[in-house]
Symmetry: C4
Subunit: 192 residues, 4 copies
């Protein structure tokens, strides 16, 4: 069974998740520039989540580009990832509404960890189905960025209880590491 329809369905779900979040950016009450001020933290939460869903779409795209066929297990691992990602909009809205509180910022980090774990399970499931000599198994490599991300999320969760904005900075840092093209990072790490 080919991956075409699984990719199309995932694209649909990810497209909805990424755009549903904008529904949480409420229309400002009032008609002047001051009315925009309470929207700013919601907007920043939305921007970060948009980038994260973008990163997952990007990686999902690469993952299935290197995948030849699907199985029942791959489908369910993919649905589990989509489920975790579908919780991002409501968690983002909770963070946006309570930008000075520690728990929403910490839970956001836990959700990011969960999404990362679900992605790792999906990757493992595909490799288990395609074999360790497959194109994907070789492409995955040493997974330095994944390990750095876990540390980043954990640091963010801890920082949330000092100040929630520090947690957001940690999450934004991890996101930045994924946006920067892979080759450069790898070159930096090799030089290091």
């Amino acid at each position: 069974m080919t991956t075409g329809r699984l990719e199309a369905f995932s694209d649909g779900v990810l497209a909805i998740i990424i755009t549903i979040m904008v529904l949480e950016v409420k229309v400002p009450h009032g008609s002047d520039l001051h009315a925009l001020r309470p929207v700013v933290p919601v907007f920043l939460s939305y921007l970060l989540s948009f980038v994260y869903v973008g990163i997952y779409w990007n990686n999902h795209h690469h993952l299935f580009h290197a995948t030849k066929e699907t199985s029942g297990g791959v489908m369910w691992a993919n649905l589990a990832l989509l489920f975790c990602l579908s919780l991002i909009p409501v968690t983002t809205a909770w963070v946006g509404d309570n930008s000075e509180a520690p728990w929403p910022a910490a839970l956001y980090g836990v959700l990011l960890l969960l999404c990362g774990f679900a992605y790792w399970v999906l990757e493992r499931t595909i490799i288990a189905h395609e074999g360790t000599r497959s194109e994907l198994a070789r492409a995955v490599g040493r997974r330095i960025k994944e390990r750095v991300s876990i540390v980043g999320y954990a640091v963010g969760i801890a920082l949330a209880f000092i100040h929630p904005w520090l947690a957001q900075l940690a999450y934004a840092g991890v996101a930045l590491a994924w946006i920067v093209p892979d080759r450069r990072i790898e070159a930096v790490l090799r030089a290091g």
Copy 2:
């Protein structure tokens, strides 16, 4: 007429249904962990419905994988199935808001029965169009899981009036039977 666009349209509708439900998971009022408690039953209802829509997408995928071409009848049978599935989010929200009441839990079971019936009609319509010697007609087989599901839904509807959570357990059990790969179940049933 090929099935490509029918599959793409169904993927779109199913992707929206599965992600629309998360809009029902309201942003918690309050900024600490206690604020999450009233969200828990809504979240569990959402999880179960996510799994059910996932099962239907999975089966829909397999169904049209074995289908060569469509007709007007197949299109309308497909739309009837999508209509039944599109009622899952609002019913899920009703269950989540009234997790201790019998009627929402019972109606959820009736809706699952209705979706199962619509799926069966779609399958029959395709086989009627493609002929009883088609790949699909042979693949459908003895339909043991379908019969067990109907019993499971009926038991769930009855249990709803004892305690709604027992109904949810029955529905979750049916869902589990569909997630576990077919071959193993069939092997178990043959051995039994």
Copy 3:
């Protein structure tokens, strides 16, 4: 330029329109069967609109099946049709909230007329681009069903001011004429 992406985009928009309407079916207040009663007219409005969007998707599918390539004009005519169809959910909700009032029922009929007109413009634009000897131009034929529909909508709009439910019956009758497979209707008309 091929029609692939125009069809994919239209499928996306139509899938969203058809599922967005279910958001208008509000979660019932209360946990017993009586709580479902005020939902009934909203549900019936939703069912009728679901069928209409289904009919348009079906016809759109057939239309572009017979179309070889697109132009700027075809794209804008298609967007105009999608715009008209995108007004169905809010009009449906207005009808559902005011099921005993004449104006919503009449406006619903005006919108159906508008959608029919936009579809006709799209058909004309494609034929103008592909030539009157194209497959599509021959397939369109005498357009008996289209003419009957216009009469049905007009009768419905007039009936709305006697009783809004009579208008809904007229619109439902037109919908039924489109669901029934073409060949049978044509055979009936030829025999008549």
Copy 4:
């Protein structure tokens, strides 16, 4: 890496953006024609934004029609454009709710400028990846319409502080320039 899935994802996001706006057109309170009056400015804002998203989809379609392959940079430039476009529904709703206020109308123009800038960055990124001798680089040409649009947006932003409806007229004028087929405009400009 081919552009297929990037186009499918973008189509999904654009389809959601264009239909999400209709959710902002609230169901009128009341059941007669007078109830429609407050909906009129919201409806006009929606119409203009629908046309703008339609223009971007149209141009996006042409852009990737002339693009052979994607890179990480192209993906992120595309996501940046989608992010800007995803802000159109909430800004449209703000304009619709405050149709007599200058700031919403001005901000709408700033957003249009931002979307135009994001589109230009995407175009540059693709050309940088494909080479200045690529089909796309030659197709882009002198970019007269883009320059006229920037002037139009700037004039609109300034006019917003005289009267917001003048701003909307300026934006509508720019939109009109993009709907009219290219060749005619170019012919007019050459003759001029």
